[in-house]
Point group: C2
Chain length 327, copies 2
């Protein structure tokens, strides 16, 4: 009796799209006693066999195995065509579909539109992957929305069993709408990836004098460029909040540049028009800048050999901060 109850929580999970992430999830599901089958256009028999997963090259054969859960682990850009090529009619009518894409409104709408009304839908986003989830999943975030689950208690139990797998691995379970996910992910994951891509494009190099902060950035670049550009592009194209966040990033960059160059301009101007001169000199014909510049050229900035006279009023012996910083 007890044995039977324990077996009930074990699921038959069919993974569609057996790339890096599909394999990553399959491995852990199989190791926890779930029956895992997989399909992919690329023949992954060998990889599958090694991790205890039955592989089906033929997607009709795959569906005829009647997995209780169909887990979509295809890329964002290909999920739509993957779903359209899936012979859903060969599955049991009450199958649970789960996606694990890094964007959420798009698959939610796609699954609601493409799948028959009998099918259950759970949208999820494990906020980690093969790198950050290599060892334990403890404390790593797992977002989900129960988009459409039939009222049958067995269906509700099936969803709970699926979620239980992640909960028992130590994930922090976050129930959230797909819409809210996409808002938050645009200002977190998409921005993180954009920073990683930008710094990767700069080809930053490790030096002998790295700070801890710089090493954190190098680490970010490595993790980001481990992912394909397709993937990053998916975050941009399929999350409608991404464009706004990219714009916010650009504006912030402009603000910082203005702070740096605006200040430089103030210093140069202070050298051109020292306070005592301001009162005495002729006011000019509205072209004072050009005239003064002709008689007192601005030194090349920044000039290390002849350091700039900085605005007065600094507390020279007790700087509010330090000459060395530790980021």
């Amino acid at each position: 009796m007890r044995k039977q109850k324990s077996d009930e929580s074990k699921l038959k999970v069919g993974i569609v799209g057996f790339g890096t992430f599909g394999q990553f999830l399959a491995k852990r599901l199989a190791s926890k006693g779930h029956k895992v089958i997989a399909t992919s256009r690329t023949p992954y028999e060998e990889v599958a066999r090694k991790i205890g997963v039955e592989f089906f090259q033929d997607v009709d054969d795959f569906c005829e195995e009647h997995p209780e859960v169909v887990l979509l682990a295809s890329s964002i850009l290909s999920t739509e065509s993957v779903l359209r090529n899936l012979p859903v009619q060969r599955l049991k009518r009450n199958t649970l579909f789960v996606d694990v894409l890094s964007v959420k409104v798009f698959p939610k709408q796609l699954l609601l539109r493409e799948l028959p009304p009998e099918v259950d839908i759970l949208c999820t986003h494990p906020m980690f992957g093969p790198d950050s989830g290599k060892g334990s999943w403890a404390g790593l975030n797992f977002m989900y929305e129960k988009v459409r689950i039939g009222a049958d208690p067995r269906r509700e139990r099936r969803v709970e069993n699926f979620l239980k797998f992640f909960r028992e691995e130590g994930c922090t379970m976050v129930e959230m709408t797909c819409e809210e996910h996409d808002r938050q992910a645009a200002s977190t994951q998409f921005i993180t990836h954009t920073v990683g891509r930008v710094l990767g494009t700069m080809q930053l190099r490790s030096t002998e004098i790295n700070t801890k902060g710089f090493e954190a950035l190098l680490n970010l670049v490595n993790n980001t460029t481990n992912d394909s550009f397709e993937l990053y592009y998916g975050l941009f194209l399929y999350n409608q909040n991404a464009t706004d966040e990219l714009e916010r990033l650009e504006k912030a960059f402009d603000t910082v540049k203005k702070q740096l160059f605006g200040r430089l301009h103030d210093i140069a101007r202070a050298q051109l028009f020292p306070m005592e001169e301001m009162g005495k000199g002729p006011s000019g014909n509205g072209n004072g800048n050009g005239k003064a510049a002709a008689t007192a050229p601005v030194p090349a900035l920044p000039a290390a050999r002849e350091p700039l006279a900085l605005p007065a009023g600094k507390d020279v012996y007790a700087p509010s901060n330090t000459g060395t910083i530790d980021v």
Copy 2:
């Protein structure tokens, strides 16, 4: 005899500029048995007393104590005026001057220009601070250049004793010219701080669905904004390589944006001019884009409800990468 030898390695260090970083170094120097005195315009008697440091409000009194090492720990922006206000004539002629600024060519030139030829000069940059060097200094980088050390063996020994303090704390000692330091620091520390400042300006917020990568960025923002804007501005103004690096960062950002939007443009164009139409249709009067757009408007992008038909040729069942990423 042995005792005397051990005492020889203990130095009398006078710290000029007793802000956060000066106190940070003073504490550790004093705890390792070095005699530490300090001066600052702000009366830091209380702070100094607590960490076993003798404080002199009067800078002449400070110099008359004849510290063997004068350690400049003032801010980058104030170091020039600090040095000009220092009654160097009250010090012993063979004093060793050490700076710990985050830029190096500027203090090197300043010290060479302002100090009498009898004075020894060591330029250093501990690549850490009160945050990252809170516990152990093991593995943290310490850069230095022996800019001008008199040939007297006692002077050479004094420099080595000073460096030994950092070496024994576990620092990775990096001997490097100030010029090379500034080249490397511009593409490492200055870029790190710029990214931190930009993201700080965006006011990124922690969410329920943070990834590890995003948390690394939040951490960077916190550490960066712990430092004053003056300090960041010093890295920019007094390192002549900083402007070039800022430009490289800007160009990299533009490149990434072009990759995103250029690709979007390709997709939109593919929808306007499908391959089969390209052969058949009239070539137009060099204004094909406008004409086609009038009859087949581009859908709003990104359109989650009606996802874009993506360029064909994707391996739909075996994505080269995954739908979930873990940065």
